[in-house]
């Protein structure tokens, strides 16, 4: 009795495998496309801006108060459908202002004049050359694009584990604790929203660069922010960084941030 039951199960298992093999093989065969005459091609748009290593230089002397930053923040958040959540715990921000002692906690000076102590600084994702968030992500949903050094999010792949948020030394990342759509003031139809459960952050306006436009905050800054290719010795950013004194946030951590601040 025992032996024949075992035999029955063995034969049933092998038959299941055999019968199941056909649809799999059919499926594999079908994914090979039937020959079309010419091969479709995928390429960059001819007007796209390209660089080996995008970087940003923010001239902080051009900004006097919090209000000066508002058009920049508004430009970024509106075209990217960043929701405006009232609950501060769930807030999503790609670019915002912080006082000096929060943006640069290790460079505090208690004897600064009052106005300098709390001087507002624009903070955003630094698109580090050595990003800890990319090291941490278990699915490569956050990744550094080899072609231009931008640290991007693939919202389709993100599993919402928030390891990248723990890894980021700059607090640049936000998580969608709930569906963001009800909180978007005015949807920009040209750019997707995100769904609940994924992490998001500044993307250096990769979608604008691809069609030949500068990032929204750069455009709204009236020249206070310079955006260019750090790998190109003749670029605007290289010229500024080589001549003027700039600081970056927490460089002692070895992240090599790409956002410089002229102070």
């Amino acid at each position: 009795m025992k032996r024949s039951r075992r035999k029955f199960l063995k034969i049933a298992g092998i038959s299941a495998l055999g019968i199941g093999a056909k649809p799999i093989i059919d499926g594999l065969a079908a994914s090979v496309p039937s020959g079309e005459t010419a091969e479709p091609q995928v390429q960059r748009k001819p007007e796209a801006l390209t660089a080996k290593h995008w970087a940003m230089v923010i001239d902080t002397t051009r900004f006097k108060s919090r209000e000066d930053f508002e058009p920049l923040i508004e430009a970024c958040h509106s075209i990217h459908n960043v929701p405006d959540l009232k609950n501060k715990n769930h807030e999503i921000k790609w670019i915002w202002e912080e006082g000096y002692k929060h943006a640069f906690p290790t460079l505090e000076n208690p004897y600064f004049e009052e106005q300098i102590k709390d001087l507002p600084f624009l903070v955003l994702c630094n698109h580090c050359e050595n990003p800890p968030c990319v090291r941490a992500c278990p699915t490569k949903a956050t990744f550094k694009r080899e072609s231009d050094g931008i640290v991007l999010m693939d919202f389709h792949r993100c599993i919402g584990c928030r390891f990248c948020m723990a890894a980021c030394p700059y607090g640049a990342r936000s998580f969608n604790f709930r569906d963001p759509r009800p909180f978007i003031k005015k949807t920009n139809l040209k750019f997707p929203t995100r769904m609940k459960g994924v992490v998001e952050k500044c993307n250096f306006c990769a979608e604008r660069l691809a069609v030949g436009q500068l990032p929204a905050c750069v455009e709204a800054s009236n020249g206070a922010i310079i955006f260019g290719d750090l790998a190109d010795p003749d670029s605007n950013v290289r010229k500024i960084i080589s001549t003027r004194y700039t600081i970056r946030r927490k460089i002692y951590l070895g992240t090599a941030p790409s956002v410089y601040y002229i102070v």
Partner: protein, 135 residues
């Protein structure tokens, strides 16, 4: 091993199996003769005028899911946004801005087949659907 192969609880087991078979085949015998017809998709004037899509209509029907998956990897991860089809026609690779630009009647085009096949793609959680889907 018992000499006579008696089946214990015979009544209950056979009755239970009968109930199970009836329940498990419910979708088949309940819908006998009531097969829903294949959905009719409406093309917008713009789509009709364009004549040509990314791939042929048959390929789009079977492959548009895979194609969109490949597109998203190429746009997001490889920074490539321009698709030149086999016949040389250029398209910007964007679900909301290219596909839905021509097929701007989502409820009469996309949703017809999706609802018929009981498929609920979560693409619309993020990519703006136009007009907003009525479930």
């Amino acid at each position: 091993m018992p000499k006579n192969k008696t089946m214990y609880n015979q009544g209950i087991i056979i009755a239970g199996m009968a109930v199970f078979i009836v329940l498990a085949t419910f979708p088949f015998w309940y819908n006998l003769g009531k097969a829903a017809p294949a959905p009719e998709r409406v093309l917008t004037a713009q789509a009709k005028a364009a004549k040509e899509c990314i791939l042929s209509a048959e390929l789009m029907r079977t492959e548009h899911m895979q194609m969109l998956n490949e597109w998203r990897d190429m746009v997001v991860r490889d920074a490539a946004r321009l698709y030149v089809s086999a016949s040389g026609k250029p398209f910007e690779m964007s679900l909301s801005n290219t596909c839905l630009d021509c097929h701007s009647n989502k409820t009469e085009f996309c949703d017809r087949c999706h609802n018929y096949a009981a498929v609920d793609p979560y693409c619309w959680d993020c990519h703006i659907d136009n007009p907003k889907e009525i479930k």
